[in-house]
Amino acid sequence: MNLNMFVQHFINALGLGSLYGLIAIGYTMVYGILRLINFAHGDIFMLGAYFVFFATIQFKLPWEFGVSLAIAGATLCGLLVDRIAYRPLRSAPRISALISAIGVSFFLENLAIVMFTGMPRAVLQPPWLMKPILVGDVRLIPLGLMVPTISFVLVSGLLWIVYRTRPGLAMRSISHDIETTRLMGVSVDRIIALTFALGSALAALAGIMWALRYPRVEPFMGIFPGFKAFIAAVFGGIGSIPGAMVGGLALGFVEIMSVAFFPNLSGYKDAFAFVLLIVILLIRPTGLMGEKMEEKI
């Protein structure tokens, strides 16, 4: 492999990894606060992709507008999922919410089949995103550079919210002690809703960029990216936002590079993620940047 190809693979891995990272953040934030694995998260990703498809291709809205609309729509869906499926179970045993999450996931996938049909649909990539730029001998497409850049900016913004603002402080507090946080005057349900909104917006954006990279949408497109992002969140240390991003990037690199260096193994591409999960669970169950897990009181 020459340097030229390696750079291509590198950028590719960076793109895939940051998409995993963006989805993983939603898992990790919700888990950090509610100790709930939001299985419906991958389906919010799918909805984001569909919404942008309908807005821009069916209704011919301009891209900027279609993307904003899709993010808003998917965020609303994320909020509804919390309100309808999780909030009534807040004081129920954790397993109930988990089962509810699985149910919501099936529901959304099948709703998508009913509403959008199960047929995959092609997403038209805007030409300006695909026109290659030559840097030396390396051919780069703008989309490939845009995905990691946007992700980086968004994650920085999110970290700012979580570590520098009042609602962020409340989020970090809820993750340790809900009752005490309420005693400080925090409306816990509102902060949890905010968490779902932020996670869903990021997932929707990841879904949009995913639909542009692999130019199609289908009702089950959220399942595998969702699984892998969840693995990324566990790998990075569930509950940790930087961990989710690092885990996502690690997974992106393992997946792209393994196929790049061992093309024979490309059929096992998806298996690498799960091998990585098993290894990290054996060696360091709390993940790379995870705190020691304490049972919630």
Binding site: R166, L169, R172, S173, H176, T180, R182, L183, G185
Partner: protein, 240 residues
């Protein structure tokens, strides 16, 4: 300021608080003392909105209002906005947040940065050791420092009624008197305080009014001074 009438609390089948009456006037330190399980914490938690489905009346008159407002059924976050803050039993500081972040969290309901900064200085003045440790994680503090932080955090909402649940719990005797000195100081500056304590001696020494609770009922009440010299109290709670 606070008026509790015929408060009854059940946990499952257990009748934990059996019709107690408590009243607090502005500017007082009122204490509820008694053994473990006497219903002290349940009472204070009911006022804070943490107990659902109790019976009886809890009325609260804030500075602005003339008529008492019924507190029953309100959520804890509303109570804070109404001017009632609770420093919970076991301190419950957030171990992964810094001292300063813990204090900021206490000021969550407030808008003015200038006022928050002012009150933070006030808390640091009361507890200079917190200022030294302002950027340390709460979990690294000693028990006494954590208690100071819990009291300081409750003060950050600028409450009219400050409720303290077992501030002496797990503290060495010297620290107990240090913390109680500050509680007295806070009161002398005009804050009304409801104090729940097992350490009867420390509590009675600073209280204007005290209620002795036994298995869910008030068995004695009087001024702190009276109860400190009451033979029954001395026998049961002050070691003769």
């Amino acid at each position: 300021m606070l008026d509790i009438q015929n408060l009854n609390i059940w946990y499952g089948g257990i009748h934990a608080v059996k019709g107690i009456d408590v009243s607090i006037r502005r500017g007082e330190i009122v204490t509820l003392i008694g053994a473990n399980g006497a219903g002290k914490s349940s009472t204070i938690r009911a006022i804070a909105g943490l107990v659902r489905g109790f019976k009886g009346f809890i009325g609260y008159t804030s500075d602005q209002e003339k008529q008492p407002v019924r507190l029953n059924g309100r959520r804890p976050e509303e109570m804070v906005r109404m001017g009632i803050a609770l420093s919970p039993e076991g301190r419950r500081i957030l171990p992964h947040l810094t001292v300063e972040e813990n204090l900021r969290l206490g000021a969550y309901t407030r808008g003015s940065r200038a006022e928050i900064a002012y009150d933070m200085d006030y808390v640091y003045n009361l507890f200079p050791r917190l200022q030294e440790r302002r950027s340390q994680k709460g979990g690294t503090l000693s028990g006494g420092e954590q208690q100071m932080l819990a009291v300081g955090r409750a003060l950050m909402s600028r409450p009219e009624l400050l409720m303290l649940d077992e501030p002496s719990l797990g503290l060495a005797p010297m620290l107990v008197s240090e913390v109680f000195n500050v509680i007295g100081e806070i009161n002398r500056q005009g804050k009304t305080i409801l104090l729940v304590e097992q350490n009867a001696f420390a509590a009675l020494s600073i209280a204007h009014k005290a209620y002795v609770l036994e298995v869910g009922s008030v068995v004695l009440q009087g001024t702190g001074e009276e109860l400190l010299h009451n033979p029954q109290v001395r026998e049961a709670y002050l070691g003769g």
